[in-house]
């Protein structure tokens, strides 16, 4: 594997990402804001605990979909940028390298450290995160959870596979589906995500 993840993180985190005179941060084809992790935790946790379980599951699916769009478009913006072409593309020799590069790129967004545990080309990606913010807060505020709470990492894991192995952008989104099979909010020691080809049920 030719990817130097540490180098990608250093390069990506060093790119200018400041707000302009209008107070907007445009980067990689998307508008970015920085916001407190606690804000997102409180907002989402309040919403899903205020509604009944059927509605909560519908909300969770929509959050997954929102993140999938976020990851799919943002990572596409990153991999088609001049910075990527100049700094990161020379390291990429195979589709699998690109998966590792996208995961490394994610590791500059401030959402916790995601790692590849297993990659079967074109079929399956397993990622893990040890320090996601939300699971610990769910345990503190609400106790053990019935389902994983890491929508961000879960959908990102699918988006890497969609971009690299599915139909070319923008037609591949949703080809892979990820499941959070372990979550610290459920009492597991780490959070684990498995993305595989989406099976229609």
């Amino acid at each position: 594997m030719a990817i130097d993840s540490r180098k990608i993180i250093e390069l990506a985190s060093g790119l200018p990402m400041a707000s302009d005179e209008k107070g907007m941060i445009a980067a990689f084809g998307v508008y970015v804001v920085m916001n407190y992790n606690e804000f997102f935790f409180k907002l989402v946790s309040r919403i899903i605990t205020m509604v009944d379980d059927a509605e909560a599951q519908a909300v969770e699916q929509k959050l997954y979909d929102a993140v999938l769009e976020c990851g799919y478009h943002t990572f596409q913006g990153a991999r088609s940028s001049m910075d990527w072409r100049d700094l990161i593309l020379p390291m990429i020799k195979t589709p699998e390298d690109e998966i590792h590069a996208l995961v490394a790129f994610t590791n500059m967004l401030g959402i916790g450290y995601i790692e590849v545990e297993e990659l079967i080309p074109g079929k399956r990606l397993v990622t893990t995160v040890r320090n996601a913010y939300d699971p610990g807060r769910y345990l503190e505020e609400y106790g053990p959870q019935p389902r994983g709470r890491c929508y961000m990492f879960n959908a990102c894991t699918a988006s890497y596979m969609d971009l690299v192995y599915a139909a070319p952008y923008p037609n591949g989104m949703g080809t892979f589906t990820s499941k959070e099979v372990m979550c610290r909010s459920m009492g597991n020691p780490t959070c684990r995500f498995v993305a595989e080809i989406h099976q229609l049920t």
Binding site: S13, V33, M34, N107
Partner: protein, 177 residues
């Protein structure tokens, strides 16, 4: 010289510290998707939850920021710093200079949520800056040292509706002494 601190990125753990709290970067696909998801829930007043949560967050975090300032600030200076914080975080341009402890009007001259929603979903016929309403309520509470629930903030004009600027009316709630 602003009191808004710089970011500290921990590359070993992918966390970003900002004045002692953790923040993260999110794109408009997620933020607009989150807002749309919340707006579609019929069982709750989602807008109220957004406003309350933002108000609590920015009350706490901005009060913390003010407490660390090297010299005591006047309310006017503090409100100016809050506008800078809003800009720095990528939410747009906000003029808070007309606000006092009694309330007043704040003006938005560019809005992340307007720009983002237009980019993702196109125009809508309702205001979209609920987060900003909460931001303002929290900031005014922090600056005048009262609970963020003291103030009611309503967006009476929004650039989403083709108004020239967003306007936020800040009033004290009936029980907000």
């Amino acid at each position: 010289m602003t009191i808004v601190p710089s970011l500290k990125f921990d590359s070993e753990h992918n966390i970003i510290e900002f004045d002692g709290a953790l923040i993260s970067l999110h794109c408009h696909h997620y933020n607009c998707g989150l807002l749309k998801t919340i707006e579609e829930i019929s069982q709750i007043d989602g807008h109220a939850v957004i406003v309350e949560t933002a108000a609590e967050q920015f009350f706490r975090s901005f009060r913390e920021l003010l407490s660390k300032a090297s010299k005591e600030m006047s309310p006017d200076q503090a409100l100016q710093e809050a506008s800078e914080l809003y800009r720095f975080m990528g939410f747009g341009r906000l003029d808070l200079t007309e606000l006092t402890a009694r309330g007043g009007i704040a003006y938005g001259y560019s809005s992340y949520y307007v720009t983002s929603w237009l980019a993702k979903y196109g125009r809508r016929d309702t205001p979209v800056c609920y987060f900003t309403c909460g931001f303002i309520a929290g900031i005014v509470g922090a600056v005048f040292d009262v609970a963020p629930q003291t103030y009611d903030v309503k967006e009476r004009q929004c650039m989403m509706l083709r108004h020239k600027r967003c306007e936020f009316v800040v009033t004290k709630k009936p029980n907000g002494d």
